[in-house]
């Protein structure tokens, strides 16, 4: 469904991704782990077209989308839940959600919004509130809800658990598991190893812009050394 082949990405002169290869099949739930600065966010941005790859290709449904603009990539059904719960603080909850429907003319806004509120009742309660007043967890919910509006085929989630309280992380975990049942491909960037291991089926470990390891949850758990080495944790 989506393939990333030999992708090199730069920020100005600094070379961040050094030849990344990835494969996502329909319905996959895949994580990419790595420390700060390993290149997780850059990978997400490269797929989304925000920081296009200078070399290599990103393919989607057999189509080369490497050079497409982000808004075109969005229209293909690829959704980014950005790092740091990047929602618009001065807009209300509902406005944040409607924003994602502007470009999806086919979707029926009302029913889509209702679906989102059903999934996250707390957002329904706060629909007219400015996002500024929302807690970190609520913002994360909003960002995810926004990513799921309309025809979502791949959901890219960039460190959703970052800075969240354990209870909220638990909720988040459940939410992702729920999405998993809806035939949406999930690509999750995480530092929270437990979270990544418990929701994803397959994992990539990114270090210094290169993929150091790839494998299933079992293979991963069996290979603690690699986790200690690259993630600095002893899970």
């Amino acid at each position: 469904m989506m393939s990333v082949e030999d992708v090199h990405t730069y920020y100005g002169p600094s070379h961040v991704l050094h030849g990344i290869d990835l494969l996502l099949e329909k319905g996959d739930v895949i994580s990419v782990m790595g420390r700060n600065g390993a290149g997780k966010t850059t990978l997400m941005r490269t797929i989304m077209g925000l920081t296009p790859a200078r070399q290599g290709t990103v393919g989607f449904d057999g189509r080369d989308i490497t050079r497409l603009k982000p808004h075109d990539i969005f229209r293909l059904g690829i959704r980014l839940v950005p790092q740091g719960r990047n929602v618009f603080p001065k807009l209300t909850v509902e406005e944040n959600l409607r924003l994602a429907l502007v470009a999806q003319k086919s979707a029926d806004p009302r029913s889509e919004l209702e679906k989102a509120y059903d999934r996250f009742p707390i957002l329904g309660q706060r629909r007219q509130q400015k996002v500024k007043g929302l807690s970190g967890g609520e913002r994360q919910m909003l960002a995810i809800a926004r990513g799921l509006l309309g025809k979502t085929r791949i959901l890219l989630m960039d460190e959703p658990s970052e800075g969240l309280a354990p209870l909220i992380i638990r909720e988040l975990h459940d939410t992702i598991l729920e999405i998993k049942t809806e035939d949406i491909t999930i690509f999750l960037a995480e530092q929270n190893v437990k979270m990544a291991l418990s929701v994803c089926d397959r994992h990539y470990i990114l270090e210094k812009g290169e993929i150091r390891f790839t494998g299933t949850t079992e293979e991963m758990s069996a290979n603690k050394d690699i986790m200690i080495q690259t993630l600095g944790v002893s899970a």
Binding site: H71, V87, K90, L91, N96, L99, V102, A103
Partner: protein
């Protein structure tokens, strides 16, 4: 009466500076040529009101024409410059304003034109013991009307959501399926049309002359600056304050009236270095 005068001037400034503020908020461009677009609005309004014989038709059509000019400016000169330092935009648009001012002279010459006040709005109305020119009252209500329309557009429609989101984070907007280039162009066109509406509407009250753009642009910038860049609420507050300041300056600062706006601006920036409604990040 004095308050009313200040209010009218303030609302006219809302019209002029509103577009400037939206353009800055979204595009990060300080558009010096905004004054030129205001001027073009005045000239087109003049020509169209003579050609069509109807002021109202001119008021409707002039913004359309200027919007087209706005499109050309955005598409051919600003596009290559997004992401550059604000100074570059300022200088670019300054260059454009020089061209525009001279181009106007080619077409309309250097004479001063006055647009006839529409028949129905001539004369003076009296209310609450105040005698006020009808057209001024119309301008006051008209600007409030346009401001409310803008407010509705910005707060209630999906385009408004896009624009407001754009003033916060362009990239996230782009990642949600919105072609921000088109939005930029759209916003610039809208801002141009607003400037033209102001120019055309004010023409019967003030005159149409080649310097009218330069004469208004500093005031408009001051409004946007003291309001806090890119904040529409701030622009309205800034314009109303400035309107009253000009009025007060005329009454109290005999022989020094034109200093009023600078005193107000310096005063505000000294206490609020980022304008009245500053973005707090």
């Amino acid at each position: 009466m004095t308050v009313l005068n200040g209010l009218t001037m303030g609302m006219v400034l809302v019209l002029v500076a509103g577009g400037l503020s939206i353009i800055f908020g979204m595009l990060d461009v300080l558009n010096f040529a905004h004054g030129s677009l205001y001027m073009l609005g005045g000239y087109l309004g003049y020509t169209l009101s003579i050609a069509t014989g109807s002021f109202w038709l001119a008021l409707l059509l002039a913004p359309v024409g200027v919007a087209m000019v706005g499109f050309f400016i955005e598409f051919f000169t600003l596009r290559p410059l997004y992401g550059r330092p604000p100074l570059h935009h300022l200088l670019l648009t300054f260059g454009i304003s020089l061209i525009a001012q001279n181009a106007v002279k080619f077409i309309w010459g250097n004479d001063i034109y006055s647009v006839e006040t529409p028949e129905s709005l001539t004369g003076i109305v009296e209310f609450l013991g105040i005698a006020y020119p009808t057209y001024r009252l119309f301008i006051l209500l008209f600007s409030i009307g346009i401001a409310i329309l803008m407010w509705l557009l910005i707060t209630k429609t999906r385009y408004g959501i896009v624009v407001r989101a754009g003033t916060e984070d362009i990239e996230t907007l782009e990642a949600h399926g919105i072609d921000t280039r088109k939005v930029f162009t759209g916003v610039f066109i809208l801002g141009s049309a607003l400037a033209a509406i102001a120019g055309a509407a004010v023409a019967p009250m003030r005159t149409v002359y080649p310097q009218m753009g330069i004469d208004i642009i500093i005031d408009a910038f001051v409004v946007v600056i003291i309001g806090g860049l890119g904040s529409i609420r701030g622009t309205v507050i800034g314009a109303l304050i400035l309107g009253q300041a000009i009025q007060m300056g005329a009454v109290f600062l005999t022989g020094f009236a034109d200093a009023a706006i600078y005193i107000v601006m310096a005063g505000i920036l000294l206490f609020k270095p980022s304008g009245l409604v500053a973005e707090s990040n």
